[in-house]
Symmetry: C2
Subunit: 750 residues, 2 copies
């Protein structure tokens, strides 16, 4: 039996919008997230963090803090076991230690100076306040633009250039622009955004002898196992990370200092330690989407054929290296023979950037899709038609290989039809106090070559099943979708499937929940494990009934076959009854080497702009996505709703504000850092799945929806804003103040 | 690569007496046994039990108990969800429900009437005492002999015959005795023994939504998962049993009422519930080795050739059916053409029997090996020589198939030599106050055809490994031995191996820790999983170095090969680095169908009998065992020490005493129920492993040591007692009072 066959042609459970298998538990509060883990004798940890944007710690006096009630241990740079180098480029031979666990050179507001463990959380916080520190404050830099200035205060010893310019070229850029009959050029700026996960970052650390267990709120337990093991110089087998109810939008992929500190202080006190950050600490210290400056120039012929793209981009990584790149969509989304991209990145005295849902892509879409809009206008073409003309059907960065599927043309055309694009676009721009406009933007997501995933399915002789997989459900419904595959293949009702996930000790390896690839990586492995179970059942039935196993079928938990073979529930097979359980092992096969894999999408937005108050209100949005097969329309749609909501935040409200005078973050709280609420999301939000029946990508036909759902949303809103007002908003977010300013200037912002 | 090859011919780690990998944790108290599991918000349960040997519950008044402080729920037969039929013959179509969870017909002292859950353990016990019950007391029967009498009070509706006589015959028993030139006949009686596990029985029950988790002190999590699922009508996948630090000598194999009650009351209160029995409850309610009456007649020719065995045995199962059979050694141990065995079992009003280390075998050895001793004496033969002459080299109950190995001749001859048997035996029986004697007895263990076992080994790219197996280490060192196999095959140091075991959700299936088969079942599966890892590594290395994988070797974590292939640590292979972890899956292959499998043994004992005080003191013992390969002499020897210690208890001190007047147990505590202490065990205790290099039984060459270690010990002591005193002690235990009585009568007891 082929354990990695072509995708299903007909399905019963897969594709249904079944409710989440853990929905009741999650809603009722029964689910034990990492934050809910409570162990007997547990201590609580809290951190003393540098209050300055840039300072050197001259002296730390712990004596008063040690005498505070309930304090059991304090860990600082004075402890030998805590003098651990801290890396920012992985842990291999090329890793660079730019800091250490408690580095006396604090490069941003929030760097760790000491950790206290006490009997209660309040005692821990009180003790932190009792630590006396003498700082030598240093000059600082708080913006990308300032960081690039000659003589700017250096964040790192080598200066503020975090990574030298990377240059990509294709064709001849000069020739491209020479051939162009229309050229547009614009500078775009996106703001630094914070992930703002619902569950704050943190873990509970516990030692059983030489085995360290971390119950951690993260997305990638196997990566964190590796990071912690390397930093503590432990064997991987002795570090157990459980992230069963994972979380995060990218900021929980990395090994963080609190994990290592929790392990150390638990070992020191010989007690479990709960160590969760406060919301303010999360805003300051565990990642963000870096601000970007992007200068994009594009040229096209009169018929709409693109001739050249030139992008010059600078990213603001914070105090330590990050890796958001913004060029990929410019390289790949549209057919363009001549492309040049130059990217570099700069340090500032602020928290370090970390991967944030589709790193680099929403920024790129902000520039690219507004540029496409401007170019279409200049050419007198409809923005949808202009894009349709230029959709690339081969992957221009991967040897022009065809895609396993590319539904972008359908996203554009079917999306436009469903949205009523032509009609909405036709209305003339008014001069009323409130004006309306519609915009469109496309996007894609850059597929990351995934590692191996192994899945175990146990089929019990009562017809129930246990699914064991390394991947974590970060709130996407991943466990439900994976259970649907088991239900589909083995005929087990969803209510009889129990999922064990995301524990480095008890589950097999799977890559972290990142790159929109959980379903596409683990799904085929789950199917493969089910098929392995089925193959074993059929072989056993064939032996029992003395027939050829090719003549037998396993459907809905029953074996059927030619005349003479009684219809037999699998659990009645002698083999199953003897073994008690049938163990199937599945691995994911690589996708075909001669094809490229990308999900694609187009978003349509309609906005109302109040020209007096500056308010931008989303009237409706439509999101057309080609992410391959829709496994569950409910979880799929939720991903799109979430992506669009984040896109609204990107477009209209979210930005980290650093005070240039003090270097401190001014809005490190829910009140001042504005994420969209239910009232900011349009009631009319349409999800239009495009499934071009990708039969090649893998055995489930799936490509991933998590990240593309966000990519073009903000750009579509910005284009609708332009359509409504005639003014281009190049700087994100488009706040009320900026709208008033833009309209007052009667021209583009910035 | 053959994943189930012949056993090793050379080993590096296997066979070494390495210390237990979890020794430090167990000794330091870090290990969390089920009894140590503590969950937030946990309630504590306690049981109201019938104080009478036989009674009908007329009325239960819970009103006062409900008002006791801290009480959160009471479960009794009045609760619909608790009206669960209770089975005693498994749960299949032939199961008979003879009782229910809280049966108003209480058939022994200790039957469950109600369970209370309260905020503290003391509150739960107090509330139990506040329950008011009206009982109608019924006539009862407290001994096997009384139970058989006509007109005895019936324990069950059908009378006191628990199972009709099973009859086994081979050859012609009349002809056999006709041919005999010497015949002996004797009636033996063994007492009811209690398991007396160190950890009392109990569990912690917790519900996560519809998933029930039991942290249970047991030996067979997969069996208990099945029992609880059947009784609560739940899918197997929704019942998770964790018995990582298992325990028990057979009394923790079965689904017990406390497990189901804990699950129900946790569901009712929506809180975790800790439910452990008291020592007294353990003595009363969760199993025992049943008393047996055995009449054994044996005949032989003058040259020592056995001609006939006739055994008539009756067992005392307690109030519900049990299944100790005592005939197998009579059938198999010695070559004998004519055998007849008749066995039946009787109910009495006392706790039910359960499997107890080598069920039936020590009882049988008590009768058989004393009979062999008596027959040798009658024939004028040395007891060792007499046995040697009759050792059966084929399995007489399995079509006379040869054994994969039979080291019994070596156990007898090499054991006799090492013990100094001839010299010790030669000394004349004295008439001093203190007399000495030596005795010998042989034994075997009946191999139970094992089910399938599946094991996962994860090999991490830092050269550490995770072993995932369903079997539980009940204190035998099983995890250590299994880790040695991983170390042997993969070159991973023991300190870098983490073992995950005995969790029905996170580990694969393995049969319970019973039948002395943990090592022989799981061991080959572990080896097979390691070989699967190795095969994957070699295939990857072959691809990387462009050579044939048959030319490569994997040793001590390194790939080596022909010239041109650099010596490469496995973790440096591209394949391993890409995958992060290599997953190997192993299954156990069945043993060869044309062979039978048994472990064999011979024990030698020397005793001193104080003819004035009746004290019997063990001077020394030697245990020669053929259990196949010795995987770890330290854990192997511990099994033998433990078996002999239990044998001393069987022979000299242990017996349940029921008061014939009240039907109550008089010694349900550590003080009155005498298990041997360190002072009762001889300082000179010699373990003599006989390894006849069994290359056929499985890929490790192991046969099992746990149960044979106990089987002949008591019989060897009884034979030594006879040698010392000239009086045969047919009734176990040989207490001081019985010795005085026997010596006073100058003849056999009973």
């Amino acid at each position: 039996m082929d354990l990695n066959p072509k995708p299903w042609t007909q399905t019963t459970v897969v594709g249904k919008a079944v409710p989440r298998i853990d929905g009741a538990e999650r809603l009722s509060g029964v689910t034990r997230y990492a934050l809910d883990v409570s162990l007997p004798d547990m201590l609580f940890a809290a951190t003393l963090r540098c209050p300055h944007a840039h300072a050197r710690v001259v002296k730390v006096d712990l004596s008063k803090a040690r005498e505070m009630p309930g304090v059991r241990a304090i860990l600082s740079d004075a402890d030998k076991e805590a003098q651990i180098p801290w890396y920012f480029n992985g842990y291999g031979p090329n890793a660079r230690a730019l800091s250490r666990l408690f580095d006396p050179h604090c490069r941003y507001q929030g760097e760790e100076i000491a950790v206290v463990a006490a009997e209660t959380q309040l005692q821990a916080w009180d003790a932190v306040r009792a630590i006396q520190v003498e700082y030598q404050q240093l000059p600082f830099v708080t913006s990308l633009e300032d960081a690039q200035k000659p003589g700017a205060p250096p964040v790192q010893d080598g200066g503020n250039l975090a990574s030298p310019a990377s240059v990509y070229t294709r064709g001849d850029i000069a020739k491209g622009f020479a051939e162009a009959e229309a050229v547009v050029e614009e500078t775009y700026r996106t703001s630094c955004e914070l992930h703002t996960s619902q569950e704050v970052h943190g873990c509970v650390a516990h030692w059983d002898g030489d085995l360290l267990t971390l119950w951690d709120s993260d997305q990638s337990p196997f990566d964190i196992q590796r990071g912690v093991a390397e930093l503590l110089r432990m064997p991987l087998s002795k570090v157990r990370v459980n992230a069963r109810y994972g979380a995060g939008f990218g900021s929980k992929l990395d090994t963080s200092k609190y994990m290592v500190a929790a392990a150390l202080i638990a070992r020191k006190t010989r007690r479990p330690v709960k160590y969760f950050l406060t919301r303010e600490e999360v805003y300051l210290c565990v990642g963000n989407r870096p601000a970007h400056l992007m200068k994009l120039k594009a040229g096209a012929k009169k018929d709409g054929t693109l001739t050249a793209f030139e992008l010059t981009a600078a990213g603001e990584v914070g105090a330590y290296p990050g890796d958001d790149n913004v060029g990929q969509m410019v390289q790949e989304l549209y057919t363009c023979p001549n492309v040049k991209i130059t990217e570099d990145q700069y340090f500032i005295n602020a928290g370090q950037n970390r991967a944030f849902r589709a790193p680099g892509f929403p920024q790129c879409a902000w520039a690219l899709e507004q540029t496409m809009d401007a170019l279409a206008e200049k050419l007198g073409l409809d923005p949808v038609d202009f894009r349709l003309k230029n959709v690339a059907m081969v992957c221009q960065t991967e040897e022009n290989r065809p895609y396993t599927s590319n539904g972008l043309p359908q996203c554009l055309s079917e999306g436009a039809k469903a949205f009523g694009w032509k009609e909405a676009r036709a209305g003339a721009r008014g001069e009323a106090a409130i004006v309306r406009g519609v915009g469109v933007a496309s996007g894609m997501w850059g597929y990351l070559a995934p590692p191996h995933a192994t899945v175990i399915v146990k089929y019990f002789d009562d017809g129930s099943a246990n699914l064991n997989m390394g991947s974590t459900d970060i709130g996407t419904g991943h466990c439900t979708v994976m259970a649907q595959i088991v239900a589909e293949e083995l005929g087990v009702p969803l209510g009889k499937i129990e999922v064990e996930s995301a524990d480095t000790q008890t589950t097999q390896f799977a890559d972290g929940a990142s790159g929109s690839r959980s379903v596409m990586i683990t799904g085929p492995a789950v199917r493969s494990a089910c098929l392995d179970v089925k193959a074993k059942l059929l072989a056993a039935a064939a032996a029992e009934f003395q027939v050829f196993d090719g003549d037998l079928k396993f459907e809905n938990g029953e074996i059927t076959g030619p005349p003479g073979v009684p219809r037999t529930p699998a659990r009645r097979l002698r083999f199953v009854q003897e073994q008690g359980v049938v163990v199937g092992v599945g691995v994911r096969a690589p996708h075909p080497a001669n094809k490229s894999v990308r999900p694609f999408c187009t978003h349509f937005a309609e906005v109302e702009v109040n020209r007096r108050t500056g308010e931008v209100r989303l009237v409706r949005m439509l999101a057309a996505h080609d992410s391959g097969r829709v496994m569950n329309l409910a979880t799929y749609s939720n991903q799109v709703y979430g992506g669009i909501t984040m896109g609204i935040g990107f477009a209209l409200t979210e930005q980290r504000i650093l005070d240039a005078n003090t270097g401190k973050m001014l809005n490190a709280n829910f009140h001042d850092y504005k994420i969209p609420t239910a009232l900011d999301v349009p009631a009319e939000l349409t999800v239009l799945p495009i499934d071009p029946h990708d039969t090649e990508v893998n055995s489930t036909g799936t490509k991933g929806i998590g990240e593309p759902a966000l990519v073009p949303a903000a750009a579509a809103i910005a284009n609708a804003f332009y359509h409504a007002t005639g003014v281009r908003a190049t700087v994100s977010p488009i706040t009320r103040a900026s709208v008033i300013n833009l309209l007052h200037q009667g021209r583009k912002q910035g």
